[in-house]
Subunit: 435 residues, 2 copies
C-alpha cells in the first residue's frame, strides 16, 4: 500500500463527464490498495469566467476579494468530484485549502505557503476515505483565503505530498508528460521518460508550461517523486525523481527513475520556449559602480521578476551605459512607472520597451561538460538566420533572447539539430496546466 | 448614524448589472451616514445550476459535500458585490458565514444557528468598511461549512442584525413588500404598510414566500425591526416591528410601525396560500389513548414538519380511527417508509396519500375578537362552491385545506369578500425569495 497524491488540472475536470472519468481513475487507484489524496483545480473556464465578471465590476478589484472569488472555483470542482467518487461506492470527503491546513502569507494572488498542517487529511485517509483538496488556495493568519498564483494547484499537490510523506505525486494533465519541445510547435517532439529535478526546474523556469516552477522547487527540496502523465490514457508519463528510492515505492516508481545517477539520461532533455516576457532597455545610465544596484533596487521595489540581464557600454555616449532586462509582460507597467519616478536619481536618458522578444532554452544535464553543445546550438540558429540578442546560461541550460516572430523557427531548428525527433509523431495537444 | 443590515436575494443580484445597482444603493446608505452590513444570496440561477450538476454525478450526494458546493454561490456573489462597492469609492470587505462568526449545528442542508460571534464584522464596520456577508451559510464544530436551508439568507440577515444590535434589518426583494395576497393571483392585492411579528409569522408559516418563517421567528425573539422592500425602487415597503422604538431608530423606522399597539392596523392583514403540502391519512388506527402519540413519535423520528392534523372516528370500523396529517411534499416519502416499517406496532390498516391539496389562510391581528370574520370566510368559500377538508386556527389566523385545483379561486373569493382590493393595481411580480 502506498500513499499517492494525484493532481488534476482544469482541463481534466472540464465538465461533469470528465469529473466522472477522473473519479473512475481515482477509484481504480483506491481499489489497487493505495491511499489517495486528490488535488483538483477549478473546472475548465470557471476561473476565466470569474475574472471576466470581476473586471466588469472593478478594473482594480481588491486582491483580497479577488482571492475569495477565485477560490469558489475549486470549491465547486472539489465537492462535485467528491460526489462523483462516492457515487462509485468509495467514501470521499472534500476540503478547502484552509481545512487541509495550507497556511500561507498574506500576499493575495501570489501567496507563499508558510506552513502545512494536514492533520485532518491524514486522519480521513487513515479512515479509508479519499481526500479531495482544493488546489491553488490556502489561508492566512487573518483566516482569509489566499490563492497561490499561477501553477498553484501543482504547488498544493507537491506540498501535500511532502507533508504527508506521500510515495509519489502524480500530476495529471492533458498530455503524456514533458516533451523534448512543445509538440504543438514540433510535431516530432518526444515524450521524456525521466528527468532529474535540476533539468525539470530549468525546463519549468524557461517556458515549459506543463509543470510549474514553484512545484518543482518544492519537490526538489523535499525529494517528492513526481509523475507527470495524461488523465486521458494509462500510459506512463515523465518521472521526475532523484536519490535512493523509499521501499514503499517499489512497484510504483520505476527503479530507473530513482537511481543516484541517471546514467541512461540523454545529454539533452529538451527545448523550452517562452513568449511571456518583454524587454526594457534603460539607456544612458552613468557608467559607475553602484548604478546597476540602484536600478535593480528600484525594480525589486515593485516586485518584478527579472530574468535576463545584459549591460553594454554606450558607444555613442562616453561614460554612459545601457542595461537591458527581460521580465514577464505583466510586470512591465509597474517597473516603467517606478523607473520614471526615479529618473533623476538614477540619471538615465530614456527607457526603450521591446515587446517583440522570445526566449528559447536548451536544457540538459550533461551540457556543461560538452563544449560541442553550445557550438551546435548557435550554429543551428545561425543557419536559420536568427539573430541572438541576449544569452544566459546555467549548469544545465543555454538560453537566448531572439525576435518573437522567429521563435517557432528557432525551436524547430534546434530540435532538428540535436536529433531529438521521435520516430512517431505524438498525437497530442500541448496545453497549459491552467493553475 | 444607524447600523443597518441589508439583505439582497438572488433576484436582486442576478447579473453584474444588478450587482452594480445594488452596490449603488449600499453606497447611498453609507453616504447617508449609516454603518452597513450586507447579506447576499447567490446570483440568480447559480444554486440551481450547482444542484443540477450534483444530481448528474450522484443521485444521493452526501449532504456535507452538497453544502460545500452550494456555499460557493455566495462566495462568488459576495466578493463581486464587494468589488462593485469599492469601485464606487467606498471600502468594502466580504466574509463567509464562518468568518462572520455564524456557528451552526451539524445538520447539513438545514443547519440551525447555535451561536453568533460577529466580532470581525463589528470591527470592520467600526473601521468604516461596508461588510458583505455570505447568506445561507455557517460553520459547524468540525469547521465544515453548513447551509441553513430555505430562507437561509433572511435568517443570516436577522441573526446578524440581532447580534450586532442593528437598528433595522432591510430585506430587499423584487416586490414592494408583503401584500394582502399574492399579486400574481390577485392583481388588486394591496401592499401592507406595517405588520406585527405575530401576523408576519402566520403569513410566513402559511405560504407567503416573501419572508422566511425562521427569519421572522428570529426577528420576533430579538425584536429586530424588519423592513421588507423592493431593490428596484425607493418606495417604503412593509415594516415589521413592535414595542417602544430605540432612540437611534428615529428617522429610520416610521414611528407608526413601532407603537405598542398598532391601532391603525386593519383587522385583516392578508391571505396566504400554500401549494407545497400533501396529505397522508392513516386509516384504521386503534381508537385508544396513546395511539396518536405513537404515530407522531414515528413521524418525528424522520424529522418531518407536520402542519394540520385531524382525527375522525371511523364509521365503517367501530373501535378504529383515522388520522390525517399534512406536511411538505418532500417529507412524505420518509414518513411513508417509517410508518410502513412501524405498521404492525401501530396496528393501522393502510395509508392514503393525497397530493391534490392546497391551504388558504386568512391572517389578522384582531380576528379572535371578531366572530363575524369566520362567518364571512366560510361564506365566501361556500359561495364559490369550495369544500373544506381540514380547518385549523390560531389567535390571528384561520386556515383551511381544500382541493389544490380550487386554491386560486379560494384566494380570489376571500380577498374580495374582505374588501382587501386596492384602488390601483400593483404592477409587480410576486416572486419567491429563493434562499
Amino acid at each position: 500500500m502506498a500513499l499517492i497524491v494525484q493532481k488534476y488540472g482544469g482541463s481534466s475536470v472540464a465538465d461533469t463527464q470528465s469529473l466522472q472519468r477522473v473519479a473512475r481513475r481515482i477509484v481504480q487507484t483506491r481499489q489497487a490498495g493505495h491511499q489517495v489524496v486528490v488535488v483538483v483545480s477549478a473546472m475548465g473556464d470557471t476561473t476565466d469566467d470569474l475574472i471576466d465578471m470581476a473586471a466588469e465590476l472593478n478594473a482594480h478589484a481588491p486582491a483580497r476579494e479577488m482571492d475569495i472569488l477565485l477560490s469558489a472555483g475549486e470549491r465547486i470542482s472539489m465537492s462535485l468530484l467528491s460526489m462523483a467518487i462516492s457515487a462509485q461506492g468509495v467514501p470521499a470527503m472534500a476540503f478547502t485549502g484552509a481545512q487541509a491546513g495550507i497556511r500561507t502569507d498574506a500576499k493575495y494572488g501570489k501567496a507563499q505557503i508558510v506552513g502545512m498542517v494536514p492533520e485532518r487529511i491524514a486522519r480521513v485517509i487513515r479512515d479509508n476515505n479519499v481526500a479531495i483538496v482544493a488546489g491553488f488556495q490556502g489561508v492566512n493568519d487573518a483566516e482569509d483565503v489566499t490563492t497561490l498564483g499561477r501553477g498553484g494547484s501543482d504547488t498544493t499537490a507537491v506540498a501535500l505530498a511532502a507533508a504527508l510523506h506521500a510515495d509519489v505525486c502524480e500530476i495529471y494533465t492533458d498530455v503524456d508528460g514533458l516533451f523534448t519541445a512543445d509538440p504543438r510547435l514540433v510535431p516530432t517532439a518526444r515524450a521524456l521518460h525521466s528527468l532529474d529535478y535540476e533539468e525539470t526546474l530549468e525546463l519549468a523556469a524557461n517556458g515549459a508550461k506543463i509543470l510549474h516552477l514553484r512545484a518543482v522547487e518544492f519537490a526538489r527540496r523535499y525529494r517528492v517523486p513526481l509523475h507527470v502523465r495524461s488523465s486521458f490514457s494509462d500510459k506512463d508519463g515523465t518521472w521526475i525523481a532523484q536519490g535512493p528510492a523509499p521501499k514503499s515505492l517499489r512497484g510504483i516508481v520505476p527503479a530507473k527513475a530513482l537511481e543516484e545517477e541517471n546514467v541512461e539520461a540523454p545529454i539533452i532533455s529538451g527545448i523550452a520556449h517562452d513568449r511571456s516576457q518583454e524587454k526594457l532597455t534603460v539607456v544612458g545610465l552613468p557608467d559607475r559602480p553602484g548604478v546597476a544596484a540602484d536600478l535593480f533596487a528600484a525594480v525589486a521595489k515593485v516586485g518584478a521578476n527579472i530574468d535576463m540581464i545584459v549591460q553594454n557600454i554606450s558607444e555613442a555616449r562616453p561614460g554612459r551605459a545601457n542595461i537591458s532586462i527581460t521580465m514577464p509582460a505583466e510586470d512591465i507597467p509597474g517597473v516603467m512607472e517606478e523607473l520614471q519616478h526615479e529618473k533623476s536619481a538614477l540619471d538615465f536618458i530614456r527607457i526603450d520597451h521591446d515587446t517583440n522578444v522570445g526566449k528559447v532554452s536548451l536544457v540538459g544535464a550533461g551540457m556543461r561538460n560538452n563544449p560541442g553543445i553550445s557550438a551546435c546550438f548557435f550554429q543551428a540558429l545561425s543557419d536559420a538566420g536568427i539573430n541572438v540578442d541576449i544569452i544566459s546560461t546555467s549548469e544545465v541550460r543555454i538560453s537566448v533572447l531572439i525576435s518573437l516572430d522567429r521563435l517557432d523557427d528557432a525551436v524547430l531548428a534546434i530540435h532538428k539539430a540535436f536529433d531529438l525527433d521521435s520516430e512517431e509523431t505524438e498525437a497530442v495537444v500541448y496545453g497549459g496546466t491552467g493553475r
